[in-house]
Amino acid sequence: MSFEIKKGVHSHILVTDKYKTINLQFNFRKPLDVESLSKRAMLAAVMETNSLNYPSQTALGEALSDLYGSSFGTSSQRFGDEHLFRVEFIFPNPKFLKIDINEFYKEIFSFIQEIIFVPHVIDGKFHEPTFKREQENLLEEYASYRDDKQLYSALKLNELYYPDASHQVPGKGRAEELNTITPSSLYEVYQEMIAEDLIDVLVTGDIETDIINDAIASLPWTDRSAKDSDVLYLQRTEEEFRENTEIQEVNQAKLHMAFETPFLYGSDDYYAGLLFNGIFGGFSHSKLFINVREKESLAYYASSSVRSLTGLMTVQAGIDQKMAEKTEQIILEQLDAIRKGEISDNEIEQTKAMLTNSFLQTLDSPHRSMVRAYRDIATGVESLTAEEYFAELSAVTKEDIQRVAEMVKYRAKFILKGVDVDA
């Protein structure tokens, strides 16, 4: 059930008795710009560390322990062509603990109010030692991307594929912008978010709608002008193929390929796109898995995945560097095969079964079911039941899959490899 609490602030209550916990997700959304990546990443870091009345991690840790091992987390991420700041709480359902249920509800909402509305701010500035330390931690995190070779390669591919900085830069920002933020400018970022973002609160668990909704509504929200911008990222317009190869001391080379795909979330071709990706490289029965890994033993992993809010499909493979060209060739051959209609009924059936399986499994996780529900809320796409989802998949034909495969365009390539023994 959904309620409007204030202009631009909504709650969505999903009652179910299958979880042992009560999970709440607070979503703050605004249009994307490159500075927000670093600014809100910093905000997420400081808000997760302490608050005004729990001014140290230890004090916060004690409060959470006292609430029977409750936990919360903040995250800051790109969300299509927008920015999403999220605070998520997990509380044990008091019906399993031998305690006063109403008392417990009061305590958890008091805690929520503290975390979201009472940050560690003194005289218009975030607490300096916390700020400094979290800024250092974030800078170190940026530097560590290089240590995760798969992540590093994926980030380099983004730089090649996307034409604008707000999409090229990693989701948590970069040193360039991070270094210009101050404890007082960060407070302005916080105030702006609380006052202007579009806010959606999701709750799931064995709860009573009225009780929970009253508690959420009693938090100090304010009206904001409801401007709903477009989450979906507009297609890139550059035609030129972009590529880059980098050499590091690695034992295993990484091949990352970027494709532009038209089947965005909520579009008519979305379901055909899901099937296409599943058959191409999304599952262990996919063409990439079978032809690159199993048949040729070229790679330990070779898969494809689609970001349905921006239309980017990436293929990633971990390979012996001498095999980079051959692997790329075989991958492109699989795309071609799908375009030509070399798709068996078996492949289609299996993919439909796996996608349905995935969808249903999402419904078993408090976090994932809320993530899915929120995506529908933000994009304005109707939330489907399992039966409706399966019906959409069933309606996709082989010709539909061929058609979307034709629309897929190979745009960029990044290779990470070791020093050439025979260059």
Partner: protein, 430 residues
Amino acid sequence: MHKQYYEQYDEVVYSKTLENGLKVQILPKKGFHKTYALFTTNYGSIDNHFIPRGEDEAIKVPDGIAHFLEHKLFEKEDEDVFQKFSRQGASANAFTSFTQTSYLFSTTENVKENLITLLDFVQEPYFTEETVEKEKGIIAQEILMYDDAPDWRLMFGLLENLYPNHPAATDIAGTVESIQEITAEMLHTCYETFYHPSNMGLTIVGQVEVEEIMDIIETNQNGKKFSEVEKIQRFFPSENMNDLIKERSETMEVSRPKVAMGIRGIEKHNYDINDLKKMLMLQMLMNLLFGQTSKTYLDLYDRGIIDDTFGAGAIWQRESDYVVVSGDVNNPEEAISEIKKILLNASESPELCTKNFELMKKRLLGQNLRSLNSVEYIARQLYMPDYGNITLFDVMPLVEDIELEDIVELAKEYLKEEYLSIYTIRPEIK
């Protein structure tokens, strides 16, 4: 069939040990779409020295064979088992640890069909020299992928120090060299010895009809022929604690230094509830010293000695147990010195106080409850041969029984300098 109701959690576990020795456990979970089934053998990367079934002499097999076997079981003469599961709407996977190998599927439909596929594919091995050779390429890539991962290297560096000349420190997948020596015949030998149902457990969690499922399993197992139940003889090196390496380091292409420090246990395991109790106490000890209520931890964090990559915990499995602390640091010497002080003076630490202890118990109660949201977690924690006949439901009653004094005693007895080791990874100087 035995039925155990856990009132505190409102959950039931049904269990039965079949004639062939297979231990079956089923936990029905209403309202969940997913059913998760896990078929596990009590055999892992450390089991490289044993007497093969039906023989008298012990043999040693190449490193990485348990993991290799896991890969190979999916390949049958007519098709790859992943395909079969996919067709039946299930997603399958497997993993090998130091002490166990598990095969699993999760599905939202066709549970019975997939269950039979799970039992059949694990119990009908098919290995030829060709298929074995082909897998070597894939696994070599997997090994190289891990070789590039600094945190993985950090763990193994420490293990090599704590357990020199012992399979507990061997990389689970072996090395690119060791796997070249593997043959189809060796795979068969290991399989025949360790994959006997009496050395295995099957756990199923999800929306299932218990009687029906148990029936299907029994019918399937009764329709197959198994050799006699025999105790497996495994051998491990007798250890000389003087061989423990106190400190080592290596350089890698990393942005910052990484440090791992560990202290190992020296007592033999009992494979019963006392092992679980000891492990819980070790975890509680590390939690008190370095967890979210620890001012000691906060102090290190605020001084920039450690950061968010820092972690501390206790590991307990067949043939090894140790506490470990690790993370990225700016100044390895400083971090090592500070952490060493904390570990070796733990019994006197202000963190081991009643207030923290009571808060920790509350915390563990809630976390334990929360873990029951995950069918995967439950399935993995129902069959735990490293501790004997224990399940996750035995944890909280034990925790409630543990007193602060027990933890203090353990700190004195376990955290000794002579069993402490340090492994560091430093960035290359360019």
